[in-house]
Structures are given as C-alpha cells and as structure tokens.
Amino acid sequence: MSGARRQRPPTMIAGPTREAGDPAVPDGPADPAAVRVGVAASSRQEGDPAITLAPAPDPVTRLPQDGSPEPRLPLVDGVATAVSLERFGDSRARLTEPAADGAAGGALRTDVLLGPVRIDRARGTRVREVVVDGWRIDVEVEFERRAVLRERARRSAGTVSLGGPVEIRAIIPGRVVAVTVAVGDNVEAGQQVLVVEAMKMQNELRAPREGSVERIGVAVGDTIEVGDLLVVIH
C-alpha cells in the first residue's frame, strides 16, 4: 500500500533569507515542465493557497527484477499524489483525489467546469475560470521557473514601508451616495469615509488605518467600477 508514501509532508526547500509568509523558493533548478497554480488576482481572497504541480518524473533506469512499475503520479508541491483529471470535451472535467482523511481506498470525485484559457500578457500567465460546486474561481498558471525568478526579484526589491499612503479602492461597482470626509481631515481606523450604493444596498467604506486624507478621487453621484481609486490616506 502506498498510503504511507502519500502521507509524507511536502518537501520544502527554503533559501536562507526566507521570511515567514513567503512562499518556498527552491534554490536548485526547477523542473522545466512544472507549473505554479494559484488564484488569480481577479478572484483572490486572503489565505488562498498556491501549489506547484509537476508531471510524473521520467522513469529511472529499470532492472528486470523490479517487477511491474509503480503507478506514475504527478507531484503536488513535490509529493507524488494520486490526483487525476478526466476531461469530457473542452469545458467539463472530473477531478479524482484521495479522500482528505486518508481513508483506505477512498477517492473524492468532483465535477468542474473549465473556462477557456486567457493569456494575461502583462503578467505573463495563463488564466482560466474554473467553477467548482458553484464557486467561480479564476485560476492563474505560470511556469514554475518563471514564478521563482519573479519571486526572487520581488524579494530583493526591499520591504514595503508601513508609513506610506494607503489607497482605498472600490471592491464593488456602484454609485457614491455620500462622502463623509474632506481632504486634510484626520481619520481614525474604522472611521466611515464613503457610502456606496450597489444593488440598492448602502455600503459603508471605512478607513483601514488612521492618518490624514490626502486625496479623494470621487464625488457624490459618481458611478464607480471595481478597482477605482476612491480615497488616499497618508
């Protein structure tokens, strides 16, 4: 039974400068076929994971006395895992994975809908919508080697200043019905700064931290879209 092997913890090879919360970045060369898969920015929420997925490694030299070969499993974060995907045409598939609590012989099958692949040229990634149990998730895929380079570059760019300006951006589209602060006002963390009406509900937007209002990008009556800059607090 190969169950024991599956239970092995993920192989983490961390560089010496790795800080808590940073993803593990292997120092050695990554498998050229390996991909980094995570939730794309358009539907990412806090705590969403990312995984590295590599095809089953090519078989090492086999000797006749080895007997029948072991099933060749893809590597999820470096661990051979019994996951597989059955495709039904372009847009439907079924994922089979081992049952979560390691029950013997248990396998979980989940139907998924796969959207067409879009190329995100700005980020150099491939993005596709996946619908699972009614959840719509944009998934971003890039080659592991590229992801490693990008992360190294970002890490060497230094840390983010905690005292810098904070931008409040729209997370829902709607219409601004009230602006309750003015430029130059001092605000406290949690203080209401805007009221946005979306789908007939009034949504109060609050300051994420204390500071003074540096800029207000909208006025009462403006229609806003997701990502629009609303207020800058310094």
Partner: protein, 530 residues
C-alpha cells in the same frame, strides 16, 4: 373564453416581467414592456409585443418614474398596468395615477395599498382587526427633530432592546437597523431613514421588538370586488440573510391543520379589514411557543409566489388579471382555498442571486459566460438571463428562481438537490454554493431548526470556498500539464494505467503515427506559401 384585457403594460424588468408577459400571452392578451437603457435588449423587451423606453439605467430615472410609466401605458394603448414586485408596486401614488388615467391597476386599490403598504398603518389595521402584531411603536419616529430624542428613547425602553428600526415604506430589509442599546439608537434612526429615502423616497422609520428565534411564515391572499377574501395557503420563508429571503417553501413544514386554519383565518381577517381586492401577502413571525405575530402586508405579487402556485395548482398572475377586470374569485381559486389547510404536495424555491457568499453576500455583478439551467420532472426555472448577458449593478441581484415540486418535503429536497447539481453558471459569482450546502444540512433537511437567524449560524462561506479553491487549482494545473504535454485530449494518465503519453519508437501496430512525429510535417506544410 374572452381575455380580461386586450393589451396590458408590465411596469417591471427581469424575471418577474417575463413571468407576467407569459401569463398575459397565455390569456390571449398583448403585452407592452418598459425598459431603461441598461435593459434595451433584455429578455422581457424581446418577449413583449411592444416596448417603451423610460430613461437611463438608474431606477429613479426609469422604472421609478410614475409619469413615464403611465405615459407609456397610454401611448401604447394598454388597458391595465401590472407592477410586478419592487419598484412602483407598493406605491399608492402610482396605483392612483394609473386609475386616474382611466386604466386598471393589477393589484389592490390605492386605498388598500395606503392602508396596508405603509407598515405603521398596517399595524394599526391589525390591531383594529384583532390580529396580534409584533410589539413596537405605531407612529413614525421623529428623525429630523433632535429635540424629541428623549421621547423616542422612552418609547424604545418600553419596546425593549434589542429592537429593530424599520422603514414604514420598507421591504427586503432596506432601511432596517438592529439596535442593541440606547446608545446606538440615534445613529440607527438616521442611517435607516437615509437608506429608506434612497430606496423608497420616504424616510419614516419606527421601532419594533426583535422576536428571536422565530420563523417567517406568510399567507397568500386573494380578494375580489364583492369583499370576499380567501387564503391560498402559507409559505415558510425563514431562511434569510440580512432580512433578504434566500429559500422559500410551501406549505410551512410542521404546522398542524389547526394551526394552519388559525393562521389563514387571521390573514383573511386582515384582508377583509383593509378591503383587499386582488393579491396580497400577510407576513407573520412564528415563535417557539407556537404564537403568530403579524409583521406586515405586501400589497403585491411576491417573489416567492410560484411555490404557492405549484401547491395550490393555480396561476396567481392569471387570477390577478381576472380580478383586476372586475371578475369575482374564480372557481379554481375558491377550490384551492378549500384545500389550503390540507396541502398534499410540497414546493421549494431557491433564489439564485449575483452575490458572493464567501464575502458576506456582497453584490457580484458582471457578465454571464455560461448558463445551463436544470430541467426534468417537477422543476420550474423563472429567469430572464442567459449566457452573454451583463447583470447590471443598478438593480436587484436576483437573477434566477429555481423551484421544485414533489409529493412531500423529503422528495422535494431530493429533487432540489438533483436540480442544483444540474445548474451551471459561469462568469459571475452567485449564491449557488450556499444553496448546494443548504440542501445537505441536517437541520434544514429535518426542518427542525428553521429560523430567521439560521443562515449566520450554519453557513461558513470562506470554508466552503477554500475546499473549492483546492479542487480548482488542481484541476486547472492538471489541465495545463495535459495540454502543454500535447497528450491525447489533454488528459493526464490515469493512476495505475499504462502511460500512453510517452510514445516513442516505431509506429504502433495499428499503423497510427505518434503525434510528435507528424508535428514537424504539419509545421512545414503550414509555412509553405500557398
């Protein structure tokens, strides 16, 4: 038989406009649609025999314009106006304007709307009809008179905390605020009043005791010009979030025939007291002690009317048109009322909305890229959208009502589970994951724990989503590996199977050539100038 009218106008949009147009066509009437710029190509416009533009997308400049709607009805030669739900449906001024223009209003009379649609007036009517109402104030709170704050606070102490600030003109939880202590009351009054002005154009708010835990049970009423009022049965709409109903069913589970008769009689008394003609719904809270407390009356067609239609075997919109033309209650409606206390089937409706159940049901408008609705026995889908449609941010997030009908509640739940599994929506986030989780919840399946606070106690959106995220990234990654490897159909080899992807050496015995060999030739052929 002759149609009640020859041409009617539907003063609404979305699924309810389409549903009313369908009834009109089945009765042999022509239907006129109205639309805003955001809906110029919408399904209700396409389904209607004629359509009139009202104005820009904002409701205040289109669907809420009484003058424009009445002008459209007169210009198009309509004889009656059906308001649907929401928008102008419960404005006495609108009903009056329609009547003044010499047209029939498909709904209760302006006087009844004023007496029942204003929640404060409805509470006073209930008291006069001897129907117990939820304890609270019977006059609007003086929001714009800071000098009278003392009086409001005194009234609040009598009602008791926690209490609810509610909009007199309200509905759907808009303008409503929960207040736990006297400190929070002034701010809640102002915020509730402001939201009420934005939503209904009327900022009157009042105080009401919070009855908790409680079930939300409502009775469908029909009345005619002779003064007769009947109850078609009750619905349970306890599954709510932020006072927005999510799931409704008929009949209300667990009620005895005696309780049903008592509830229906109370609702009918209210309807008679208010001189109800046409359709309305009396809403009650049903507490753990088995008492019914009158909440409010909606003087219009309800979103969830289909569950009553299926159990009663009656088309309520068709009845509305007949009643509006002056006909008495039909034989079918009277027979349905006879059966109402002893229902023999069960129906459940779930509201699928463009909202993100992982982010406290925040609105999630956008463009639908994929849309496959369930079908098969006992399944009804009321919707007006399809793949390619954009869900505008200006209107209600409800995009689809999925209704199932079966012999009893367990069978209806099994049917609902099956229908939800068939439903496929892409491009926008909807409440579908919530509904799928609900039909698996033992408390909901057993109907034992139904209450208006049930959702917050049982639903953990982020946990449900996290499970889906893991599956989604594995599936997308595996699909990508399969595609970049150029394997047959993009499928990774199945566990325990021979690896067919790593073909090499001579062509296999059946004569087919491995893909990698032909790839070079195809490339050369493609590049050759033709």
């Amino acid at each position: 038989m002759t149609p009640p009218f020859s041409r009617i106008l539907v003063a609404n949009r979305g699924e309810i406009a389409l549903r009313i147009i369908r009834a009109a066509h089945e009765l042999g009437m022509q239907a006129v649609a109205v639309y805003s710029d955001a809906d110029a190509t919408a399904a209700h416009v396409r389904a209607a025999d004629a359509a009139v533009r009202l104005g820009p997308a904002a409701p205040a400049e289109s669907y809420l314009r009484i003058d424009a709607v009445v002008a459209a009805a007169l210009a198009s030669g309509a004889e009656a106006v059906h308001p649907g739900y929401g928008f102008l449906s419960e404005r006495a001024a609108f009903a009056q304007a329609v009547v003044d223009a010499g047209l029939a209003f498909v709904g209760p009379s302006p006087a009844t709307i004023a007496a029942l649609g204003d929640k404060l007036a409805a509470r006073r009517t209930a008291r006069s009809a001897g129907v117990p109402h939820v304890p609270g104030t019977l006059e609007p709170a003086p929001v714009d008179r800071p000098d009278q704050l003392e009086a409001v606070l005194a009234a609040a102490e009598v009602v008791g905390f926690p209490l609810l600030v509610k909009a007199a003109a309200g509905g759907g939880g808009r303008g409503m605020r929960r207040v736990v202590s006297a400190d929070g009351l002034p701010a809640a009054l102002v915020a509730g009043s402001r939201e009420a002005v934005a939503a209904f154009g009327d900022g009157s708010v009042y105080l009401e005791r919070e009855i908790m835990p409680a079930r939300h049970v409502e009775v469908q009423l029909l009345g005619d010009a002779t003064g007769q009022v009947i109850a078609l049965g009750e619905r349970d709409c306890s599954t709510q979030r932020r006072h927005q109903k999510l799931i409704e069913e008929a009949p209300a589970p667990g009620l005895s025939e005696v309780e049903r008769r008592r509830l229906h009689a109370m609702a009918v008394r209210l309807g008679i007291a208010a001189g109800l003609q046409n359709a309305a719904t009396a809403e009650f809270l049903y507490d753990r002690d088995g008492s019914f407390w009158f909440l409010e009356v909606n003087t219009r067609l309800q979103v969830e009317h289909p569950v009553t239609e299926l159990v009663a075997g009656l088309d309520i919109v068709v009845e509305q048109f007949r009643l509006a033309s002056g006909a008495p209650l039909s034989r079918g409606a009277l027979a349905a009322a006879e059966r109402a206390a002893r229902p023999t089937t069960h129906a459940i409706e779930v509201r699928i909305s463009a909202e993100d159940p992982a982010r406290v049901f925040a609105p999630a408008p956008g463009r639908i890229t994929r849309w496959a609705m369930p079908a098969g026995p006992g399944v009804r889908v009321d919707t007006a959208v399809e793949a390619g449609d954009r869900i505008p941010a200006e209107y209600d997030p409800l995009i689809c009502k999925l209704i199932v009908h079966a012999g009893d509640r367990p069978a209806a739940l099994r049917r609902l589970r099956r229908a939800l599994a068939e439903t496929e929506i892409g491009g926008i986030q909807t409440t579908l994951p919530f509904h799928r989780a609900m039909v698996e919840e033992p408390d909901f399946v057993g109907a034992s724990g139904l209450s208006t606070t049930w959702v917050d106690a049982h639903w953990d959106g982020p946990v449900s989503r996290a499970r889906a995220v893991r599956v989604a990234i594995l599936a997308a990654g595996l699909a990508e590996l399969g595609e970049t490897a150029g394997g047959p159909g993009g499928t990774l080899p199945q566990t325990g199977q021979d690896d067919a992807r790593h073909e090499s050496g001579p062509p296999s015995r059946d004569g087919s050539v491995p893909a990698w060999r032909t790839a070079g030739r195809a490339f050369a052929v493609d590049r050759w100038p033709r």
